[in-house]
């Protein structure tokens, strides 16, 4: 009934030479427990892989199950620079060469020759709908031509520096791709307008939009996803700052004007709009 006291001798825990125990377990004990965990985790891993596999089977290859996060598409500029800033010196070729280079690379796939070769010429101001007929997929889907030349002054064809050298920089604006998005109704294409943020409204000067009015033509929509629509050319709008103030920060905000899309709320500063900073330095001589 009455328990005797432990001897109180502390057995070494890390390696006990008397019982051949390592961290309180003998080799066979370690073997067994590790084997148990091995089996246990193989089973769990198997279950995980299985559920993942089943889950992937339920997914549609061409359209995600949910798109509720992408109600308002984001907008983005090219070149985007570090942290949405375009800073250069008109006299310093190197400082704007990188922007020109970025644009060159970006616009390469829009070269007229490539566009004509891969894409169709579509009737403008109408959606280019290519529905599947039931289970039969209508793939690959065709895309409409967006020729580089439509960007005119900002295409880089006439001015290889995209106006950067002259202090009249071009900024390309693109609307984020969202599968199945229809950005306008009644044949009205969405268009981009840019303006300065309040305090810089004097500094921004005149702007020119290419294609005219800065529209994203409806014929480029809807997007069918990268698997179905391999050669999709994302429509672009170029904004050229014709007489922007030099040697000062100009904060510009461009936004989409559409009769179906709303610009995002306070939470997302890049949904249906885009802000960036321009600073062109030009030493006065």
């Amino acid at each position: 009934m009455y328990e005797r006291v432990d001897t109180g001798v502390k057995e070494p825990y890390f390696w006990n030479p008397r019982t051949h125990e390592f961290l309180g377990r003998t080799a066979s004990s370690w073997g067994l427990i590790l084997l148990f965990y091995l089996v246990f985790y193989i089973f769990l891993g198997g279950m995980f892989v299985l559920t993942m596999y089943v889950m992937l089977l339920t997914l549609d290859d061409y359209k995600p199950t949910y798109q509720d996060r992408l109600v308002t598409p984001g907008m983005m500029i090219r070149p985007r620079g570090e942290a949405m800033e375009i800073l250069y010196n008109t006299k310093d070729t190197e400082s704007f060469d990188i922007y020109a280079q970025t644009l060159n690379n970006f616009l390469e796939s829009y070269n007229n020759s490539l566009q004509v070769q891969n894409n169709d010429e579509c009737p403008p101001d109408n959606y280019f709908i290519q529905e599947d007929s039931g289970e039969v997929r209508n793939n690959p889907k065709r895309s409409c031509q967006f020729n580089r030349s439509t960007l005119e002054e900002c295409s880089g064809i006439t001015d290889r520096t995209y106006g950067y050298q002259k202090g009249q920089p071009c900024v390309l604006i693109k609307l984020n791709r969202v599968i199945g998005m229809l950005p306008g109704k009644d044949g009205q294409s969405p268009y981009v307008t840019c303006g300065a943020k309040k305090e810089d409204s004097d500094a921004i000067g005149e702007l020119a939009y290419y294609p005219p009015n800065g529209t994203f033509n409806l014929m480029y929509f809807p997007y069918y996803g990268k698997k179905a629509q391999l050669n999709y050319s994302q429509p672009l709008v170029a904004v050229k700052f014709l007489n922007i103030s030099l040697n000062t920060d100009v904060n510009v905000e461009c936004k989409i004007n559409s009769n179906t899309l709303k610009t995002g709320g306070e939470r997302d500063k890049f949904a249906g709009r885009v802000s960036f900073k321009l600073r062109i330095t030009s030493p006065k001589n």
Partner: protein
């Protein structure tokens, strides 16, 4: 004790205190002394200051970790803020939340502690005590607090002695020293110095003892903390308080958790640095891992569980001062119990009568529900008349509504017993005595050892006087020449003397106090009406009396005690009786309540049975052992240990307070968790030394209550057993609660580990983790405290504090590496599902982190070619937090179901108890909480983790089945926690 006030003469005493034994102090002198010595009251032991108590609540092991985490958050926030690269205010929120958590749980713990301290405060006697003091020759009633050394005070029956007093004058003064020594035997006080030891001498009355009868006048020699009782009380505060077993367990466990948290955090800090994260980022990872791994809600859960049990105990008359003591009771392996008042009813009661040559048993139950004896004999009527008349005890007035055993009596214990007994047997004694008008009485004194009184008879025609006498049986017998048998006077011959001796021995061996009774009708002619009886001269017949019978009295055990002792025995708890009473009485009560079981013999018994000398008896043969204080004094501590080890049934009699402490220490040396009961001030050192000290709520002194961890409101030993049961239950249930709480730390931790090593977008945020820890999971984990016992816990041995830990290896391994792992997989399945359904396939997620978290990247492509802004991705990330959160919650519902039992199948235990209610609560709470997390989760993501929940349930049923079917097997050893 350096007191000699009892040895010096009155004149010296007057000199010493510049007082007068007739006029007392002068008022001015009294005021002067009061100024010097301070008021006459016991200062409460110095408590820890309140702010230190509060600070202690904020500085535990886990709390410190959380402070560190909060500081890291602040630093990260500060750096980001100054760099202007602030993404969001998450770090700041997190830091504030962490600090709030620490402070709120701290306040909670402090409140609990505060509340239990308040319970004690309520016990304090708030009515100021009055004392009758003579100053400037004037009698005044003053507040006892204002008494000073040298004051002349008067005490009378019923008063509490207001200070230590040297008796100057006394008349029939008897005091009850039970608050000092625990024994309620009255002691007479006289002005003579009878012993050099101040504690033994008759001319000092001690502070806080009670004057039972008579009057006395004395000079105050000590006040306040300098009184004997004050010194004992301060002795108690010198004894170190032992840490409770549960505190050790929790400390042990918190150390492990804190150690592991730092280990994990540091490892991944190094890994992150190695992979190439910036220092600040690595620090944030460290912080996040700490937050994820530390069970923030655990301490609150433990406190709540303990206080729930404490509440439950309070309803059963055990008030717990220190919450942790609840569990200590459960691990108790030895109870050192007082006899008087705890095991017994603390009232002398007539137990047996001997008349007509037969021993009759009286009813000793508390509520008079027992059998009574045959009262038809004429002898009984005579005996009852003697017992009733030769008795000075009287009921205090205005108690007619109370049942007789509960009425308050003025008089000593045996007379009280006889008064109540006769009141029960023949009815209104006060009126009865009036019918037999008392003519003279001779009070009891130690030389005569008898008491007598002479009465007129109730029949006015019968002019004889009746002399009634009671006293020590052998003295009474000496004075008798006849004996009353069936109402007939028979000559008292050898045969009757032998019968008397046998009966006297029998009753004495039961540990009972025996009194003899006799009477005689005085000769009418020799003692006519108006005869002047003289109590000093005793000018009347006092021999040749007629013997009526014997009455024996005992303080009978409480009705519930034998059963409770039996329960202790089956629960593997040893009950040791430690009493100041006589060994024979102690032994008789011990045998009566089952501390010494039937058939157990002491060494002396064996010696008598075998007719061999005591020395030749093998000590190991004797199960029982009665050791008196005298023997104990001569024993070394090794001998005491040996005695405790070899005799399972121990009774210590005639022990002093210091010896009680020695016995407790010896038990603790043998590795036991010791509970000690006590009521007197002298018990307080032992109460403090014990792992759990239990004070008596009714009989207990304030000092005992202060030193104790628990208070029995009904002074009943049986309540301790209830406490033990609850303590064991809460230990089991805490285990379940902790297992439940620990499990989710793994699914909280793994997202960070995967995030750092595989660079997926973060699946679970810190604030969401805190939501789980502090909001949704608190209720289910507390609900486990309500779980009923799985098996008959009172049939198990007490847990071995060295081996049966609260959190053992298998509990941690099972929670972390098995159930926790399943939960992590559930979380990741749901996370990848949510990501894939929004367009981010699992393989794309891998390595995506740096792009995903790039604030300037507003067109990141998903698996379908769609482009996402940063805010859209962040929104998606919050959705993932929610989804992961849901998965953990779904799995935790399965977890709380499996944690209801450790061994039994849930189907055996039953689903429908409070836990399920809490499950529902959790279910309803989750969407509510979810509304605070930024995202709504689509319905189907609620279903993804369900297979894993079912897996947890089924797997645990299999585990329990294996544990039940194959006890002792590898499976049992590894998987039973």
């Amino acid at each position: 004790m350096d007191i000699d006030d009892h040895e010096i003469t009155i004149e010296e005493l007057e000199m010493r205190y510049t007082t007068s034994v007739t006029k007392g102090l002068t008022s001015s002198k009294a005021a002067e002394v009061l100024e010097r010595d301070g008021p006459n009251e016991l200062l409460p032991p110095k408590g820890t200051p309140e702010y230190v108590k509060f600070a202690r609540q904020l500085a535990g092991g886990l709390q410190c970790l959380m402070w560190v985490a909060a500081v890291i958050c602040f630093i990260a926030f500060g750096i980001e803020f100054s760099r202007g690269t602030l993404g969001c205010f998450d770090d700041l929120y997190l830091a504030i939340t962490l600090i709030t958590v620490v402070v709120v749980t701290g306040c909670f713990g402090y409140y609990q502690e505060f509340k239990s301290t308040n319970i004690i405060a309520s016990f304090k006697n708030l009515v100021p005590q009055q004392a009758l003091v003579i100053r400037d020759g004037q009698k005044n009633q003053i507040n006892a607090m204002d008494l000073v050394v040298g004051d002349l005070v008067e005490i009378k029956g019923g008063d509490r002695v207001p200070a230590d007093i040297r008796i100057i004058f006394a008349q029939g003064c008897k005091v009850d020293n039970s608050s000092l020594t625990g024994e309620s035997e009255p002691q007479s006080k006289t002005p003579e110095c009878t012993h050099e030891n101040p504690l033994e001498t008759k001319n000092i009355a001690f502070f806080s003892t009670t004057c039972l009868e008579g009057v006395a006048t004395g000079t105050v020699i000590n006040t306040g903390d300098r009184t004997i009782i004050g010194r004992i009380a301060s002795l108690a505060s010198g004894v170190g308080n032992e840490k409770t077993p549960i505190a050790i367990e929790i400390e042990h466990f918190v150390d492990i958790i804190a150690g592991l948290a730092i280990f994990f955090g540091f490892t991944f800090f190094v890994v992150a640095m190695f992979i190439g994260y910036a220092f600040l980022e690595a620090m944030i990872f460290f912080m996040a891992i700490v937050v994820a791994y530390v069970p923030e809600g655990l301490l609150a859960t433990v406190t709540v569980c303990l206080s729930l049990t404490a509440k439950r105990l309070a309803r059963k008359n055990c008030v717990v001062k220190n919450l942790e003591a609840v569990e200590t009771l459960g691990s108790t392996s030895v109870i050192c119990s007082d006899k008087t008042g705890t095991l017994t009813q603390n009232r002398m009661t007539v137990a047996h009568l001997w008349f007509d040559n037969v021993i009759h048993a009286a009813d000793t139950t508390e509520d008079q529900s027992g059998q009574s004896f045959d009262q038809s004999s004429e002898t009984w009527r005579s005996l009852a008349r003697v017992a009733g008349l030769c008795n000075r005890a009287i009921f205090k007035p205005n108690q007619e509504s109370l049942p007789i055993p509960r009425r308050i009596v003025v008089g000593d214990a045996s007379e009280t017993a006889l008064l109540k007994f006769t009141e029960l047997a023949i009815g209104n004694m006060m009126e009865y005595r009036e019918r037999f008008k008392k003519v003279v009485e001779v009070p009891f004194n130690s030389t005569n050892k008898f008491q007598l009184s002479v009465h007129e008879l109730e029949d006015p025609m019968d002019l004889r006087y009746l002399l009634v006498m009671k006293g020590a049986p052998e003295r009474i017998l000496e004075r008798c020449s006849t004996i009353l048998i069936k109402g007939q006077e028979m000559p008292l011959d050898e045969q009757w003397r032998e019968a008397f001796q046998t009966a006297y021995m029998d009753l004495g061996s039961l540990g009972e106090r025996v009194l003899g009774f006799c009477h005689i009708y005085l000769n009418e002619n020799e003692f006519p009406r108006g005869y002047k009886f003289d109590s000093d001269e005793m000018n009347f017949t006092t021999s040749g009396l007629c013997f009526a019978g014997l009455i024996s009295m005992i303080d009978p055990p409480r009705a519930t005690v034998p059963d409770a002792v039996m329960k202790c025995r089956t629960a593997g708890i040893r009950v040791v009786m430690v009493t100041g009473d006589h060994p024979i009485t102690a032994r008789a009560i011990a045998a009566n309540v089952g501390i010494i079981t039937e058939g157990s013999e002491t060494v002396e018994d064996i010696a008598t049975r075998k007719r061999i000398p005591v020395e030749q008896v093998n000590r190991r043969d004797a199960r029982a052992c009665v050791i008196s204080g005298g023997q104990l004094k001569d024993m070394s501590s090794e001998e005491l240990d040996e005695a405790l080890r070899s005799h399972p049934e121990m009774v210590f009699a005639r022990t002093s307070p210091q010896q009680k402490l020695i016995i407790v220490e010896s038990c603790q040396r043998l590795g036991s968790i010791v509970a000690v009961t006590g009521d007197g001030v002298n018990d307080s050192p032992a109460l403090k030394k014990a792992d759990i000290g239990i004070a008596m709520g009714i009989a207990g002194s304030d000092a005992a209550k202060n030193a104790a961890d628990m208070i029995l409101l009904d002074d009943n030993f049986a309540s301790i057993v209830t406490g033990v049961e609850q303590g064991r239950l809460i230990f089991d249930n805490l285990k379940k609660s902790i297992a439940y709480t620990l499990t989710k730390n793994i699914p909280e931790l793994t997202p960070y580990l995967i995030y750092i090593t595989v660079s997926v977008p973060l699946p679970l945020g810190c604030i969401t983790i805190l939501m789980i820890e502090l909001a949704t999971d608190i209720f289910p984990s507390v609900s486990l405290a309500y779980e009923k016992a799985e098996s008959d816990i009172m049939h198990l041995k007490p847990r071995n504090p060295r081996k049966d830990r609260l959190v053992n290896e298998s509990l941690a391994a099972y929670s972390y590496f098995q159930i926790g792992a399943i939960q992590s997989f559930a979380g990741f399945t749901d996370y990848f599902t949510a990501m894939a359904q929004e367009g981010w396939y699992p393989l794309l997620c891998v390595g995506l982190r740096s792009h995903w978290e790039n604030v300037h990247l507003q067109d990141l492509q998903d698996s379908y070619g769609q482009e996402w802004t940063y805010a859209q991705r962040l929104y998606q990330q919050y959705t993932c937090y929610t989804v992961f959160f849901i998965s953990i919650e779904i799995c935790q519902i399965a977890d709380v179901l499996i944690r209801k039992t450790r061994r039994l199948s849930i189907f055996q235990q039953g689903f429908f108890r409070s836990v399920d209610v809490d499950c529902m609560e959790q279910m309803s709470l989750t969407p509510y909480i979810q509304s605070y997390t930024p995202c709504y989760a689509s319905g189907q993501w609620w279903f993804v983790p369900i297979p894993y929940g079912i897996l947890i349930f089924v797997y645990d049923e299999i585990r329990k089945l294996g544990v039940r079917r194959h006890p002792g097997s590898w499976w049992d050893q590894e998987l039973y926690y």
